[in-house]
């Protein structure tokens, strides 16, 4: 008998339908992954199982946990199920813990709320659980507060809270999406081990098909609130039935072909750049220590070259980006574009800045919501001494929008009328409108769903074929960098530890950190085959 059996679950919030006839099962000791793009209803399925739905939600169907219909339970009865029989791990470890309570108290609370044990006994059990999830006593005493821990460590605390009473079912909602790849690998290993050790069922929600492929025994693919396909992982990968499943996997493994880069001719030259920040002083009168975010970084980006920069959070890639864009000065070293320094006399050199543009990660935060597209994409005209006016301006706007696959009529719309993918196209239009020598893509496709991401990558490749485009592509997503760049640099702790032609670095990494990074990144099965063959 299955542990969890969701039967014909239909859910709507107010009059807005969210889920239609969702059915799935999880057996004890089994890992089942629900996957799909945003709006597929995968998280709502998890929250329905937990009984933590928004107030106006209505449901039909059944959610059976060992034969008991959870939808039929009262709120008080459901409180006894949560934490004791079902545990849950969330996406965002930075905010999932109460900032004013110690980690010991928060883990012990799960135990105390369900069992009549003394405070000391609960804390002792909490200690054991924290040890089990990889937070040993000597470094992580019970009295630690969440803000003293890293994201991965906090996620371990959340896991300890969820499994403290050895629940039969653990639900993990995008448990590693907010984490770096190496941390992600450790957390996934931990979840896998715990499932085996406790014989729990694990229902995992993730958008990342590579994670799914590595982890799950069975896969449930959802789209627009419906289950479109379900099956054992190996079987599903071998023979996908539904066109959406095929499209989803194709988009995840999407590859583009870049035109051959022209012969090297230096465009951006970064030499021995150091950027450090002063930190708060230690002790009352102690000195303020310096934190070097970027240490002695040198590299060259050639004209027409597509250069990648990868590294985990805190490695200094954002600081380096800001220095290249001339938003912040550097302490020593030089950054020049076409021979001219980006920063002169304690201010940004506008002649140089004119030749650079940037596309940011967040398609929602990159635009002033109060301006029309016409005004948004012409903002870089501010840098020109003689910006086009009248008909020439309208022409430019129309051209820029057409180039990125939108229509000239979109110029009169406001940004909220566009989807995330369209917004990223508008951001690219803004970056292109001055025909800059260099574009910086700062995690520009990281916030997009896989199918939209594939379209944007196609657009970039197409633009490269139409005009000589030089860009610096910063991303934590190795598979994207692999296909969209000619050369790649790997950054760790403020230093560039390895750089070389992209394919070479990926297939034959030299630095141990690059190897760790590549090994930690989950891969889709067909990509594995390619890697094995080469």
């Amino acid at each position: 008998m299955s542990l969890l059996s969701i039967q014909d679950l239909t859910l709507s919030i107010g009059t807005y339908p969210i889920l239609h006839d969702v059915s799935l099962t999880v057996a004890p000791g089994e890992i089942v992954a629900i996957t799909g793009e945003s709006g597929s209803g995968k998280s709502m399925t998890a929250f329905a199982t937990m009984g933590l739905l928004p107030a106006r939600a209505t449901t039909t169907g059944r959610i059976l946990l060992e034969g008991t219909d959870l939808l039929a339970l009262s709120e008080a009865e459901m409180c006894k199920v949560r934490g004791r029989q079902i545990g849950m791990v969330f996406q965002e470890p930075m905010t999932a813990l109460n900032p004013v309570q110690t980690i010991g108290a928060q883990v012990a609370e799960t135990i105390r709320i369900h069992e009549g044990v003394s405070k000391d006994d609960a804390l002792a059990q909490a200690r054991a659980m924290l040890n089990r999830v990889g937070l040993p006593e000597d470094r992580f005493p019970l009295g630690r507060y969440p803000h003293e821990l890293s994201g991965g460590q906090r996620q371990r605390v959340v896991i300890a809270m969820a499994i403290a009473l050895r629940p039969k079912l653990l639900i993990a909602d995008e448990p590693t999406t907010a984490l770096d790849v190496t941390t992600q690998a450790h957390i996934l290993d931990l979840l896998k081990d715990l499932t085996q050790e406790f014989g729990m069922g694990l229902l995992m929600i993730t958008h990342d098909l590579a994670v799914v492929a590595d982890m799950a025994d069975r896969i449930v693919v959802m789209q627009h609130g419906r289950v479109v396909e379900t099956g054992k992982t190996a079987d599903l990968f071998r023979a996908m039935q539904h066109p959406y499943t095929k499209a989803l996997f194709a988009a995840s493994a999407h590859k583009v072909t870049l035109p051959v880069a022209p012969p090297p001719q230096a465009l951006l030259e970064v030499k021995n750049v150091v950027r450090s920040y002063r930190q708060p002083r230690k002790g009352v009168f102690g000195p303020r220590p310096e934190m070097q975010a970027v240490r002695n970084v040198s590299f060259t980006l050639n004209r027409g070259e597509r250069l990648g920069l990868v590294g985990e959070s805190g490695c200094g890639k954002s600081t380096l980006t800001r220095a290249i864009l001339g938003l912040e000065p550097v302490q020593s070293g030089s950054i020049t574009l076409g021979g001219a320094p980006v920063w002169t006399d304690s201010r940004a050199n506008l002649d140089v800045r004119r030749q650079m543009q940037v596309v940011f990660q967040d398609p929602y935060g990159s635009f002033n919501p109060r301006h029309r597209v016409r005004r948004l994409i012409t903002e870089p005209f501010h840098l020109l001494s003689d910006p086009p006016t009248g008909e020439a301006r309208t022409q430019k706007i129309a051209q820029a929008l057409t180039d990125v696959g939108l229509t000239p009529a979109d110029a009169d719309k406001y940004i909220h009328e566009f989807s995330g993918g369209q917004r990223q196209r508008i951001a690219i239009a803004r970056a292109l409108i001055n025909d800059p020598a260099l574009i910086v893509f700062d995690e520009a496709v990281s916030a997009l769903d896989v199918s939209v991401r594939a379209q944007v990558l196609d657009l970039l490749a197409e633009l490269c074929r139409k005009r000589p485009l030089s860009y610096l592509f910063i991303s934590h997503d190795l598979s994207v960098v692999r296909t969209i760049t000619d050369r790649v640099m790997v950054m760790q702790a403020g230093e560039i530890v390895e750089q070389g032609p992209t394919e070479q670095v990926f297939s034959d990494p030299q630095h141990p950190y690059t190897r760790t990074l590549l090994a930690a990144a989950p891969q889709l099965p067909d990509m594995k085959k390619n890697a094995d063959a080469s």
Binding site: R354, D362, G365, F367, N368, E379, P380, H382
Partner: protein
């Protein structure tokens, strides 16, 4: 889209008092300069809708004239607060972390240590009591309110990508403040302005009640209450009416502020559509 109910009620009350204040420039039911001892302390009737005071003056006319003082003082005080506070806040946010930012913020903290009443006391001690005194005292106290709010809101905008994009486009901090920051905090300022307006009405009433605000013969609600205090036991309506005028004026402004916030907050608007 439907308008919030609080906005309709609040605007109605506010417009009512504003209208009464404006009307008082051309017409009041009775002349408040004319004293009529025989008809003193009358209870509300058809001839005197809100009754008369101890000198036989029509209370409705006095309240209309008092509305003028209250609104003028509170509005000018909001003007001072916004006019100085918002630019200071924008400046502090644009130069965040600098010595200038630190100076502006410490200056704000310092003003917060002087309640408007204490400022009024200091000014009165030096220059004597007047309505101008009340305007300056309440206005000074409004400066840090707007400066802090502006700085906080502007700081969160400065970290947004669209500001970064504007910086990459070479725009100066001043230009970004005016072009991008100010329009995006305008709603917040309107809502806060309404709230400070209502607090200004209350503060003006308190100052004129203790004699640090508008001086006779200028009518003011606080002064009317001060005059009525000793008569409260024999003629309660004399003390009741000006107080109710304050309550409803302030209530109206607060409801209007709440309603405006519901209407203007983009997050709530998204939820509504």
């Amino acid at each position: 889209m439907t308008l919030p109910r609080s906005l309709i009620l609040g605007t109605f009350l506010s417009v009512l008092f504003l209208g009464a204040a404006l009307l008082s420039f051309v017409w009041t039911p009775y002349d408040i300069q004319t004293l009529s001892i025989p008809s003193r302390l009358q209870t509300p009737s058809l001839t005197h809708w809100l009754g008369t005071d101890q000198l036989g003056r029509d209370i409705l006319s006095m309240i209309m004239m008092g509305a003028r003082t209250s609104i003028a003082v509170a509005l000018l005080a909001v003007g001072i607060g916004m006019g100085l506070g918002v630019p200071l806040g924008l400046l502090a946010a644009a130069r965040r972390g600098s010595l200038l930012d630190e100076l502006i913020m410490r200056g704000n903290d310092l003003i917060f240590a002087f309640p408007s009443l204490v400022i009024a006391i200091l000014i009165t001690a030096v220059f004597g009591a007047s309505a101008m005194n009340a305007i300056v005292a309440i206005g000074i106290f409004n400066i840090p309110v707007f400066a802090r709010l502006t700085r906080g809101a502007a700081l969160s905008l400065w970290s947004r990508d669209f500001i970064l994009a504007a910086r990459v486009s070479g725009k100066s901090a001043t230009r970004i403040s005016v072009e991008h920051i100010l329009p995006n905090i305008a709603n917040l300022m309107i809502v806060q302005g309404t709230i400070q307006f209502s607090l200004g009405i209350l503060a003006e009433a308190a100052l004129s009640y203790i004699g640090l605000g508008a001086q006779p013969p200028t009518a003011s609600w606080g002064r009317m209450l001060a005059d009525a205090q000793t008569l409260a036991s024999i003629a309660p309506h004399v003390a009741l009416m000006p107080g109710l005028a304050i309550v409803f004026m302030v209530l109206g402004l607060n409801l209007m502020g709440d309603g405006l916030r519901d209407l203007l907050d983009p997050r709530l608007q998204v939820a509504r559509t």
